[in-house]
């Protein structure tokens, strides 16, 4: 710690010699979730420290508590974070409640153009109201929910033969949601290398956002819509459409027939555990984890491969990922903006991808070598082409908690029918939008 600080001071001194016009060195704090990409960002930021003379501190909160802690921090007007890499759904609240600094003037002054970033990420991570050129964040980390599987098992001739015999089809990366389930059911309870294995690990977590992120990976491909017409808050017939009901029933069947025992409250960590301990043939998780999974000594390398969330009626993936924002309560906004300016540079973005972060910068994504740079790079591009996100309303937390409850009640606690769950969800959401004065 001490040596680090000394090094920073030395760096600051050298920097101030070469760049005398710069403002005083600040101690900046960047807040994000505690996961692999965050470690990569620490690595990446060393360059910023050396160049600018500012010191970077990091506050990384584990995912299950991330939203709670950070929204609490924002709502109490806390000065902990100068920079926040906040979830895409927070942008509405961040903008309307004045937690985030609006970045338009800064972008214009510094010549940062949102056209340089993938449109889906700009739409999802930066704009509020949605789709308007009002920017409250710079796309920092593209992400979507994808899948990975045991390539060694899929390539095993005996397993392939058994699958052929059981289903009459070839064992391959699934091309539809139903094929995905079929493969998972095939692996469920099978003996492999003397161990009982299971189909797939999926998200079922109740407390934060887990099961919603999992179930939407089925809902979106089936054609689920939040509203009949965007912006109308007219949900009857959209949220509870026959397709939505079918997709929800599908997810429940998946949970009941193709997941390992005890995965009643599982999210990112549990999904990784299940896969790394060799319990499951497949698992869903965010692309953010894929570099780490690929590098894993036990189940990475040749033993793993990746695929994008399979389509059903249409291609669709659940959006993850975050933009980086400057917190309005920070006293060091200038230094924080300096960081964003630095981060937006194409060569920094290229290094970001290299270290394991998912850049959303066109110069990185459109580079001819990108698709082959990692085994999951192509899948990532494909996923980002068809991402959909949850409500990003200021009342998003309320909307999310209602969905968590209704879906968990139905899928895990086995109460009522899919139709009832979605009908009740519309009631909850209607009430929220009425309180909001939007209905």
């Amino acid at each position: 710690m001490k040596t680090k600080r000394t090094a920073a001071i030395v760096a600051a001194l050298t920097a101030s010699v070469s760049l005398p016009s710069l403002a005083a060195a600040e101690d900046l704090t960047l807040c994000w979730a505690a996961w692999d990409p965050a470690n990569a960002l620490v690595e990446l930021s060393k360059e910023f420290e050396a160049q600018s003379g500012h010191t970077m501190n990091f506050e990384f909160v584990p995912w299950p508590n991330f939203a709670d802690r950070m929204l609490n921090e924002l709502n109490s007007g806390g000065k902990l974070c100068d920079l926040l890499i906040g979830d895409s759904q927070w942008i509405g609240g961040g903008a309307e409640n004045g937690h985030y600094v609006k970045l338009n003037d800064f972008f214009d002054a510094e010549g940062i153009s949102m056209d340089d970033f993938a449109p889906a990420t700009v739409y999802a991570y930066s704009t509020w109201p949605k789709g308007t050129p009002n920017y409250y964040a710079l796309p920092a980390m593209g992400d979507a929910n994808g899948w990975f599987y045991r390539a060694d098992w899929f390539a095993d001739p005996e397993i392939q033969a058994a699958y052929k015999e059981a289903t009459g089809e070839d064992l391959r990366e699934p091309q539809s949601q139903k094929e995905l389930l079929q493969i998972a059911q095939f692996f469920q309870g099978r003996e492999i290398d003397g161990k009982t294995v299971y189909g797939a690990a999926i998200f079922t977590e109740r407390g934060s956002e887990g099961i919603t992120m999992g179930v939407t990976s089925a809902l979106y491909p089936w054609g689920f819509k939040y509203e009949n017409t965007p912006g109308s808050y007219d949900m009857e017939g959209a949220v509870n459409s026959p397709e939505a009901v079918e997709a929800l029933e599908f997810y429940k069947e998946f949970y009941e027939t193709a997941t390992p025992p005890g995965y009643t409250n599982s999210y990112m960590g549990e999904s990784l555990d299940a896969f790394k301990s060799g319990q499951v043939a497949m698992a869903m998780n965010w692309f953010a984890f894929f570099p780490g999974l690929y590098a894993d000594p036990a189940t990475g390398g040749d033993k793993i491969d990746f695929f994008v969330n399979p389509p059903q009626n249409q291609a669709a993936s659940t959006l993850g990922g975050q933009g980086i924002s400057v917190v309005a309560y920070s006293d060091k906004q200038d230094a924080a903006l300096e960081y964003i300016k630095w981060f937006a540079q194409p060569d920094v973005q290229a290094k970001w991808w290299e270290l394991g972060g998912y850049s959303a910068h066109n110069s990185v994504l459109q580079d001819p070598g990108f698709v082959d740079s990692q085994p999951f790079a192509g899948d990532f591009l494909e996923a980002m082409d068809a991402v959909q996100d949850f409500w990003q309303e200021p009342a998003y937390a309320e909307l999310l908690l209602a969905m968590q409850k209704r879906i968990h009640d139905y899928v895990v606690a086995d109460q009522g029918t899919a139709q009832e769950a979605l009908d009740k969800l519309i009631e909850d959401w209607t009430e929220t939008f009425e309180d909001e004065g939007k209905l």
Partner: protein
């Protein structure tokens, strides 16, 4: 009170000395000593309580600075009391309250009865038994979650060892029919010692001569147990139930760590639900009304209970 003595001492001494004895007047000292405590409690307990009441009649949201706050009368109360989901939370709370108290009284009293036999080493073992209740409920919940893991958890393994059931065939925290019992088990593990200690104090307060008199009357041991032991311990037992009842009505940390209210909403006790409304959905006004309803419920039930307790004591 000592004032009599004090005054006599003061009157008996010359004025100058009297002032020296008193320094400040007793009355002033009393107020100086008591005031900080009262002030702190007013600032951090009473003032917030009044504020909660005031908020409960509004549609205020603490995460929307600058949004218009409207007075909406009893609308929040109406919504809560007619919400069927909240009644389910109340049922879950009642289940938890009833069974934890039932088991804790049963096991706690039995243990106290046995320890009261004063076998060799009983003080040591009493201390050992008491340990769980001194621990942090959140941390206890956290490590019991580990013990409850299907397959790898010790709890399932021990159950399977005794019953022959496959340890991965049931999930204490994940199954709708088991989860409510999983929290009862942990709470009982943690708080039975509390009931035991109070019962032990009750048993030790019974003077020997009462039993001796009963012996002389040739009352059987069983009869002595029901006519002497039980009635004499009852006030203590009721006190223990009061403490546990209030505590478990407020239960939050242990259960949040164990099940987080799941699966679905089967273990979503009222205080967990309230926390979600207040600090995750940020429906501040609504949650305030909810808090007041809970507060009135605890206070009402507790006062009725204390009246009953006093009646028992008088007997």
């Amino acid at each position: 009170m000592s004032d009599g003595t004090m005054d006599r001492v003061a009157k008996a001494t010359p004025r100058r000395v009297a002032r020296k004895i008193r320094g400040l007047s007793d009355r002033a000292i009393a107020w100086i000593f008591v005031a900080p405590t009262i002030f702190l409690l007013l600032a951090i307990n009473i003032f917030p309580l009044i504020w909660t009441i005031q908020l409960s009649f509004t549609n205020y949201r603490a995460n929307r600075i600058g949004r218009e706050v409207k007075n909406i009368g009893f609308r929040n109360y109406e919504r809560i009391l007619t919400d069927s989901d909240i009644w389910l939370n109340m049922q879950a709370t009642a289940h938890f309250l009833f069974w934890t108290i039932f088991f804790q009284v049963l096991i706690g009293f039995t243990l106290a009865y046995l320890i009261n036999k004063n076998f060799r080493g009983s003080p040591f073992w009493t201390t050992v038994i008491v340990l769980p209740m001194m621990l942090s409920p959140a941390v206890v919940g956290n490590f019991w979650k580990f013990l409850y893991q299907p397959q790898i958890g010790l709890f399932n393994y021990i159950v399977s060892f005794f019953t022959g059931k496959d340890p991965s065939s049931f999930e204490m925290l994940g199954q709708v029919n088991l989860a409510p019992w999983s929290i009862v088990i942990v709470d009982t593990w943690m708080w039975t010692p509390f009931v035991m200690l109070i019962c032990l104090a009750g048993l030790r307060s019974i003077p020997d001569y009462i039993y001796e008199a009963a012996e002389i009357d040739r009352a059987s041991k069983l009869r002595q147990f029901f006519t002497i032991t039980i009635p004499m311990v009852l006030p203590f037992l009721m006190l223990a139930v009061l403490f546990r009842g209030i505590e478990n009505f407020k239960m939050f940390d242990l259960v949040v760590q164990l099940t987080g209210g799941g699966p679905g909403s089967t273990t979503e006790l009222t205080s967990i639900n309230l926390k979600r409304e207040a600090f995750e959905k940020w429906r501040t006004g609504y949650a305030s009304a909810y808090a007041i309803i809970l507060f009135v419920t605890v206070f009402g039930l507790a006062s009725i209970y204390v009246k009953a307790l006093n009646k028992v004591k008088e007997r």
